[in-house]
């Protein structure tokens, strides 16, 4: 119970935050010029008053603003995300349809960046001041500063167009009809370029942070004590320094994890990866209100969930945190 009580409190706060976010999103999206009816009419290349009026009525846009807001909030409370009139499907279906591809991409990038980032950070800190450290930190700086869009296009040009090693688009070979292991292998091949492009940036961040934090903790008295006890370098690094140095990395990882479901618009766009980021971006351009609000809400919920999870991980890594609360 001692552990559950604060979590319960956080959950109540989280729900209130979520509702506030939903209302704010609703205001924001309606503040943008244009509405779904105008966009649809525009795309049709012809429109008359009857058509616009029909569309507005169907979308519920003919209602007063507060009525629209009220029915939206009421639907949210009942976990009803509404219907995308543009795509002719329930918003939840649209999101679930994109979820597998999104998670494969973002989770892979997450795991790659976190493991490589921490490993390289630890390695660099152990060789601080040496040439290999300089090489690693320079590379990290480069990855950190490279615009994702450019890196993605370059990856396609080099590995797909020039070398022909990896497919550059989509998440599987269209119409190949693979099944079982062959299909998994096919998806992995398609995954390598987008996942590593997306992972590069965060890998650089984790690496730099791990390295700096490791160096800082290494100066502390308890490390000297450990050394005085006669423990070996690797043991000190793993059990004493890393354990204490990892907290800021956990914070950052929590932030990245919160974005897992939100997708990655740029990476998904360049690699034609059918994820949620693109769904959101395209719905935004089309002012497909229900769909954008749905994606926003799911993403917001994920950020909150991962914030709570991060707090739990803190307690695992550093038991003092739980004791204080």
């Amino acid at each position: 119970m001692a552990v559950l009580a604060p979590i319960l409190g956080r959950l109540v706060k989280a729900l209130i935050t979520l509702l506030a976010i939903a209302v704010l999103n609703f205001f924001l999206i309606h503040a943008a010029p244009g509405d779904p009816a105008v966009v649809l009419a525009g795309e049709a290349g012809a429109a008359d008053e009857q058509m616009i009026a029909q569309l507005r009525e169907r979308f519920g846009l003919d209602q007063p603003f507060h009525v629209q807001l009220g029915s939206y909030v009421w639907n949210i409370v009942r976990l009803d995300f509404g219907y995308s009139f543009r795509q002719g499907a329930p918003v939840l279906d649209l999101i679930l349809e994109r979820l597998p591809a999104t998670l494969i991409l973002t989770l892979t990038a997450f795991v790659i960046s976190l493991t490589l980032g921490i490993a390289l950070g630890v390695a660099a800190s152990a060789r601080v001041g040496k040439a290999s450290d300089s090489v690693l930190t320079t590379l990290a700086l480069l990855f950190y500063a490279t615009p994702l869009y450019w890196a993605a296009l370059m990856a396609v040009l080099v590995f797909s167009v020039e070398l022909g090693w990896l497919p550059g688009f989509g998440y599987e070979t269209v119409g190949a009809g693979y099944s079982g292991l062959a299909r998994i292998w096919d998806v992995i091949k398609h995954l390598i370029l987008p996942a590593s492009t997306l992972g590069l940036f965060f890998m650089a961040v984790y690496m730099r942070m791990t390295r700096a934090s490791m160096l800082e903790v290494a100066q502390m008295d308890f490390v000297k004590t450990a050394r005085a006890k006669g423990l070996s370098g690797p043991v000190i690094r793993r059990r004493h320094i890393l354990r204490n140095a990892i907290l800021p990395v956990v914070t950052l990882a929590g932030l990245q994890a919160g974005q897992l479901v939100g997708g990655a618009v740029l990476t998904e766009t360049v690699f034609a990866w059918p994820g949620i980021g693109r769904l959101m971006f395209e719905s935004l351009a089309a002012r497909d209100y229900n769909t954008i609000l749905g994606v926003f809400l799911v993403s917001a919920a994920m950020v909150i969930v991962f914030n709570i999870l991060t707090d739990l991980v803190y307690r695992l890594v550093d038991p003092r945190i739980g004791a204080r609360a």
Binding site: G42, M51, R86, G275
Partner: protein, 515 residues
């Protein structure tokens, strides 16, 4: 552009064996951009939907590159002497993709019930129609209230697609579950749609024309980034880039590749014409001298050659040269900055800033707006570029919140279908970006447009439209910029891809791949 060295030998060898015989089989991958919101052509008529759904649905007629009607679902047709009765004889043995027979009742339902409710552009033409009847299963009769010159041009698949009555009658069209798995009569059947990735169509084995279509399957591929689409074509991921799917500078590069062909044909029916709406209601643009000055100030050939990489044609007025009843006997606005300056001085232009709204359709349009700003500032007009996204553009133009706004529109083969709607006073309606947005009012011309639409004699109509074009070009209600050309880029071993004036939107039943 032509068969180049590397492939010449292979092709020559192939010709020796087959001597141009069409080969059945194979798969074609075509880019579709952006992803269509839906495929039910009776409900959604945007560009990408027409591209894909044109393979699934069909119209009664098709149109040649010279805009002559030719058989589609209708095998033959007659028009009465007085131009009031149109009788269509349908092809025998046509089946919907679910096996139900296609009959005249479906035509009546599509035109008189379904599309009257859902299709804004067709609705304007149907206003001339009195009754639509089906005397027997294979005959349909359209009776008009008064003659309507361009009526024979409204039977194209995007304008009047045939909708299955047995699926839609009595249902709520927009939420009918079958919208997700469209049923048409076309050469290809809907198979699957992986949202965000591709749409898969397969050959209609029961197609009513023997031997057609040739292809086994077609994949429409969704690739959201323009640079990635160009790369996808380079790597062989896709075989066809429909007009407008890559940026213009990539067009030049891709068409120079080995084994790559391109064609500007397939847009004659649409004849997209680009112009700038000039707000005729207020500000400097309400002065005809200012509007004429804009025409003289712009170096339209430079834009065509540089921004559009040489594609397109300089228009002479509101009617594109590919459209019926075009006339070039009008005032010519050649690039002449001095004349522009003189006109500005004469009207006493005080340097008031005018806002230009570019079309948010990619780099090309942004650059175009910059070129125009440069030209106009050279003659002393202060221009400010007011950029926004697609929804914002629709909102601003349909609410008349602009001074000058880029756009382009299709003409659908006839001035009464796709031209007059932008210039007559009865089409000044807030809320739509596709009518007389500039607010041009000329009652004398309104009467002439109306009269020309109801004439049935072609020579008579030509004379009427000659007169209209001559007069309206002097008023410069909008600044005509360019007759757009969107080349279709494809691999040279794909043949007969574009065979009509409607191009890829017409269903690629004749396309075949040389193995």
């Amino acid at each position: 552009m032509q068969y180049l060295k590397a492939t010449t030998f292979l092709i020559a060898a192939a010709f020796a064996g087959h001597a141009f015989a069409q080969e059945a089989g194979g798969r074609l991958d075509i880019v579709v951009q952006p992803e269509p919101p839906g495929l039910m052509l009776g409900l959604v008529q945007n560009g990408p939907t027409q591209l894909v759904a044109g393979d699934i649905y069909e119209g009664l007629l098709r149109y040649t590159t010279d805009l002559e009607p030719e058989p589609g679902l209708a095998e033959s047709w007659e028009i009465s002497e007085d131009g009031l009765t149109y009788t269509f004889h349908l092809h025998e043995g046509v089946k919907w993709h679910d096996g139900e027979p296609f009959t005249a009742e479906d035509v009546v339902f599509s035109a008189d019930v379904f599309l009257r409710e859902t299709h804004a552009r067709l609705r304007a033409s149907l206003a001339y129609v009195d009754t639509i009847t089906a005397p027997d299963d294979l005959t349909v009769v359209f009776k008009l209230k008064e003659p309507f010159g361009p009526f024979i041009s409204v039977f194209e698949v995007g304008t009047m697609p045939m909708i299955p009555k047995h699926i839609y009658e009595g249902t709520d069209y927009a939420t009918n579950e079958m919208n997700a798995t469209p049923i048409g009569t076309g050469p290809f059947k809907f198979e699957a749609w992986e949202k965000g990735s591709y749409i898969h169509l397969v050959k209609n084995e029961d197609y009513y024309v023997d031997g057609l279509p040739y292809l086994d399957e077609v994949y429409y591929r969704v690739i959201p980034d323009a640079a990635s689409r160009a790369v996808a074509f380079e790597t062989g991921e896709v075989d066809v880039l429909p007009g407008g799917s890559v940026e213009n500078w990539d067009v030049a590069r891709l068409t120079e590749m080995d084994g790559v062909c391109s064609t500007g044909s397939g847009w004659e029916f649409f004849a997209p014409l680009a112009w700038m709406w000039l707000n005729n209601r207020e500000g400097p643009t309400s002065d005809v001298r200012f509007r004429q000055a804009i025409m003289y100030a712009m170096d339209r050939e430079f834009v065509r050659d540089v921004v559009w990489n040489g594609f397109g044609k300089i228009p002479t007025g509101p009617v594109a040269s590919a459209t019926n009843f075009y006339s070039d006997d009008v005032t010519q606005y050649d690039y002449d900055p001095d004349k522009a300056k003189a006109l500005l001085e004469e009207m006493g232009y005080d340097g008031e800033t005018v806002r230009v709204l570019p079309l948010p359709y990619g780099e090309t349009w942004q650059r175009w707006a910059e070129a125009v700003r440069q030209n106009l500032s050279e003659v002393g007009i202060n221009v400010e570029i007011d950029s926004t996204d697609v929804a914002g553009w629709n909102e601003k133009t349909s609410q008349w919140d602009y001074d000058m706004a880029f756009t382009y529109l299709y003409q659908y083969g006839d001035p009464a279908l796709g031209v007059s709607r932008n210039y007559t006073a009865d089409r000044i309606q807030k809320g739509s970006p596709w009518n007389n947005v500039e607010g041009y009012e000329n009652p004398g011309l309104d009467a002439k447009w109306a009269a020309a639409a109801t004439m049935t004699d072609a020579a008579e109509r030509q004379a009427a439209y000659d007169e209209i074009q001559k007069e309206i070009v002097d008023d410069v209600p909008v600044a005509w910029l360019l007759e757009l050309e969107f080349p279709t880029i494809y691999r040279c071993n794909v043949h007969d891809l574009v065979t009509t004036g409607i191009g890829l939107n017409d269903g690629i039943r004749n396309a075949w791949i040389e193995q």
